[in-house]
Symmetry: C2
Subunit: 222 residues, 2 copies
Amino acid sequence: MSTTITSRTKASAEQATERPAKVSFKAQMLAAREDAIVRAVNRLLAEKGFDLMTVDEVAADVGIAKASLYKHFPSKEDLAAAAMVRVVELAQAFLAGLPADAEPLQQLKAMVRWMLNLQLAGEMPSLPHQNSSLRTTLVNNKAYLDGLVRISDQIGAWIERAQKAGSLDPSLPPIVVLYTLYARACDSVLEFLRASGLYSDEEIVELVIRTCFDGLNARQDR
Amino acid sequence: MSTTITSRTKASAEQATERPAKVSFKAQMLAAREDAIVRAVNRLLAEKGFDLMTVDEVAADVGIAKASLYKHFPSKEDLAAAAMVRVVELAQAFLAGLPADAEPLQQLKAMVRWMLNLQLAGEMPSLPHQNSSLRTTLVNNKAYLDGLVRISDQIGAWIERAQKAGSLDPSLPPIVVLYTLYARACDSVLEFLRASGLYSDEEIVELVIRTCFDGLNARQDR
DNA sequence: GTCTATAGACCGATAGAC
DNA sequence: GTCTATCGGTCTATAGAC
């Protein structure tokens, strides 16, 4: 009891300078731990997928108690959703950092290259497409949906500009192009090629970009 | 004892006509049930994936007791492996049925079309790439590996012929082409496009084939 | 009587939740 | 640290075909 009062008094005495710094510090600590959790979840999701990732693992990886995890996130699904929100935010930041005056086709290739590198770095979370509880959690996550819409709008604009500029096939529906690009985020050809041991990561990325945009057919216009 | 002798005598008497028919019938029943099991596993693997598929579900789907399942297959992993063997055999049968004198590029497109249709029909099993016990079970399955090698040899021969004929980009390593085609078997763009509700299954297949072989870029040679 | 398949209880381990 | 649910896998007793 007495120690509580003492410390509170001390805090009051330093209120003018340290109190705001203290709550900020406290919030920083909270945010830092939350960030550490989300990073661990992100890595584990990329490494073993949602089903094989256990909450105990996450807690052990972060170095906190499992109970502390549930103070931040109410369920395993919300953990995964937080990781997805982070990825979407990273993607937004990457897109915003691209030179605005570049060719739209180059913007698109840069975006795909970023996704492929993320996957090769083991930081692309892989979620099962069929888990319904996870789906509802994601659909109800406004931050995730909003970010996804913003990204899609940006990429969609580039696609239409590239088609008008004649660098992307204009007869392909933009939504097909968009989904084809998105699908590169979980393209299994990356792990196939890496498992073959024949190519470096950089070569793999360039090969996939090439097959994605140029296709497999021989081209007379090259 | 006496009844045993009696029945054996009776069986011996009918050996010429009924004994072979009897064991054949019994074997047929066994094979038919095994086939029903593998089909159910195949469908469930495609529908929910390995992790979310439960053995009880399989038994219920087939309409037999779980214990009877374990009379046929010693583990859940072996169930999945049996489904993969079936798919590989189906693929071999499909490849063997293709006209041998067709253009190699058309053979390849037919193969991809077959994989895409299998996926859209909900009959392409999806296994987690990370489950180690499943991997070892598959690697130790001779029927699976042999079938996969035979398929790869066949497709690889077509790829090289198509490259020599100038219908496939000869500067792409054949293994890259092979893996790019294989990866279409679990291309998430199919479910994306289907979820959009904008296209029929036939249109989706043709769109994916087109983006796969022609790429996204505009082409001057069309 | 013997063999086989079935139904369903049951066990141990594990994971999510609190 | 505990509770509960689930799942892979096993076991036993019963029924029926031959």
